[in-house]
């Protein structure tokens, strides 16, 4: 696509792209290239000498069972967060799509958690479910559950998943509602006249028509679970107890910071880059977005 009428100028267009180009080259491409380069280097324990080791950092990673566990964990988290958040949001959106009094009020009351920052989400949830002072922990203990996410890895993972899903409900709700509202009412009425009950109407008519929205949201939720959960994890569990809540992004952070293992951290960054590229490609190639407002 090109404009027919344009301006003639030799230098001006370069001056106009220059600021963005400078930032992109200095803060995006240069560091990304550095990360790739560093992933082929190995530093000795004192940081005095570095040697070029080809793919040793990668080989080490793939041999490390802890890295493999982090990969599996990240995927489990992603799907658990996406599934729980999407199903809850879909239920609410289907209800809010009905011609109810105060429909707009419901929307307002459901979309604001989008604006809550991940670290704050972490603080809110750890406070609510803190083993010694959490308000809900009391009830869990009354039910006979030995609730302690600060010591029990599975409970910590569950807590992260719940907190992360909680934040994402608002986003999913908004897009589901938009998707539902774009389905022509006549289609649903036709199904009703054919005698399909509400549940059947939902699964055979509405759900298939929503599938582009669902697929789009699935990709967005996975990207969210991969990257935006960092703040939640960091305020709530710091990847612990043990390594029970350490995701790939969190591992890049801790290995480079505390472990000082920059070569390995860089190799992990490069692998993450590959994942982002794949997810972005999926998003642009396969996702048809027909959301209209």
């Amino acid at each position: 696509m090109q404009k027919q009428s344009i301006f003639q100028s030799k230098l001006l267009p370069y001056a106009l792209v220059a600021p963005q180009l400078a930032i992109v080259l200095i803060f995006f491409y240069w560091p990304a290239a550095q990360a790739v380069l560093q992933s082929f280097l190995l530093q000795d324990a004192f940081g005095l000498s570095t040697s070029f080791v080809w793919f040793e950092n990668y080989v080490e990673l793939f041999k490390d069972p802890r890295y493999f566990e982090a990969v599996v964990r990240t995927f489990v988290f992603s799907f658990a967060i996406a599934f729980s958040s999407l199903s809850f949001a879909l239920l609410l959106a289907v209800m809010a799509d009905k011609p109810l009094r105060g429909g707009m009020v419901y929307r307002t009351l459901l979309i604001w958690p989008y604006a809550v920052a991940p670290p704050v989400v972490g603080v809110l949830w750890i406070f609510m479910l803190h083993p010694s002072l959490g308000v809900l922990s009391r009830y869990l203990r009354d039910l006979g559950i030995d609730w302690n996410p600060l010591l029990n890895g599975d409970q910590a993972a569950l807590l992260i998943i719940l907190a992360a899903a909680w934040k994402q409900v608002s986003y999913n709700f908004l897009f589901f509602l938009a998707g539902l509202q774009s389905i022509p009412k006549s289609v649903i009425e036709a199904a009703a006249i054919d005698g399909a009950r509400p549940m059947r109407r939902f699964w055979t008519v509405i759900f298939p028509l929503l599938s582009p929205t669902i697929f789009f949201l699935l990709v967005v939720n996975i990207v969210y679970a991969f990257f935006d959960t960092f703040g939640i994890i960091d305020t709530m569990t710091r990847g612990g107890p043990g390594k029970a809540t350490e995701t790939l992004v969190y591992k890049v952070y801790t290995d480079g910071l505390l472990g000082g293992n920059l070569g390995s951290s860089a190799a992990q960054s490069v692998i993450l880059m590959g994942i982002v590229i794949a997810l972005t490609a999926i998003q642009f190639r396969f996702v048809e977005r027909k959301v209209t407002y």
């Binding site: 240069w30 604006a115 908004l174 407002y293």
Partner: protein, 282 residues
């Protein structure tokens, strides 16, 4: 439709209110906790109704900070967050709109290369280049500065794409008309294109402000001085000390204060927010 209209409708209302309660409960708890006495909370005896320490806690939080570890007033952190969020939002919009203008309204060598160079940054989030970016910012002596907090985040493939798309829909006749009036590239941009882009800019601003205010990983890396930390970093530091020393009412007041500006923006500018969210995802 036909069946059980009444029951269906009551059920929908009920489910929505349950949903709203589930969503709102953690925040309600934070508000309530911020008005109570720390000793009671630490005992695990927290009441679910507001207490009487509202003014005291918020005064302490905003002007003094925690009495333990950092002692940094949260008011100052909010100011840092505000400056950073505004710089990121305004910066992204400014540099994106001018690069989109160049790409759409000019023909020059490497035009599409420029576009792709900007576009590909979509695939390079901070998380995948954490330490090298940190090193560059350190080498440029930008640690603990507003420039260091915002500059590396200011590029925006999404905003550039959005403006490019919008400019493509602007009729050519407008450019021809203003050219007949003797307008050059600057006049056309300022008098015609910018006013037309107002709604897009506003919608984008709402989203980018929230995004900027909620930044976490980047400020965590590059701020070391307490007086430069943003509110998101401050709240994390407040709960680092051992549990017994955590001043929960102050932490919860900080959480409430951290939520207030972005949540207010979402609710007060709901239309723009929804528009921005839907458009930036295209």
């Amino acid at each position: 439709m036909v069946e059980h209209e009444g029951i269906q409708r009551y059920l929908a209302h009920a489910i929505l209110w349950i949903g709203i309660s589930v969503v709102a409960f953690p925040v309600y708890l934070a508000i309530v906790a911020s008005t109570q006495d720390n000793a009671v909370i630490a005992n695990g005896q927290m009441s679910l109704l507001p207490g009487g320490h509202f003014l005291q806690t918020y005064y302490q939080t905003i002007f003094v900070g925690t009495s333990g570890s950092t002692r940094e007033p949260v008011g100052n952190m909010m100011l840092n967050s505000l400056v950073m969020a505004l710089m990121i939002a305004v910066g992204k919009i400014a540099i994106s709109i001018i690069s989109a203008y160049a790409i759409v309204y000019f023909r020059f060598p490497f035009r599409m290369a420029m576009f792709w160079i900007i576009f590909i940054t979509l695939m390079l989030p901070v998380e995948v280049r954490i330490y090298p970016t940190y090193k560059i910012v350190a080498d440029l002596h930008l640690l603990d500065s507003y420039a260091g907090l915002s500059l590396p985040l200011i590029a925006s493939a999404t905003a550039t794409l959005l403006f490019r798309q919008f400019f493509m829909t602007v009729p050519d006749e407008l450019l021809e008309a203003s050219r007949i009036d003797g307008a050059g590239p600057f006049r056309f941009f300022w008098d015609t294109l910018l006013p037309l882009s107002r709604t897009n800019m506003a919608a984008l601003f709402v989203i980018l402000f929230i995004l900027g205010w909620n930044q976490y990983l980047w400020p965590l890396l590059i701020t070391t001085r307490d007086d430069m930390q943003t509110i998101q970093i401050g709240i994390r530091k407040m709960i680092t000390t051992t549990d017994a020393l955590t001043e929960w009412p102050v932490v919860m007041a900080t959480a409430v204060l951290a939520m207030l500006p972005p949540v207010f923006v979402v609710i007060a500018m709901q239309k723009l927010f929804v528009r921005g969210l839907v458009e930036t995802e295209k």
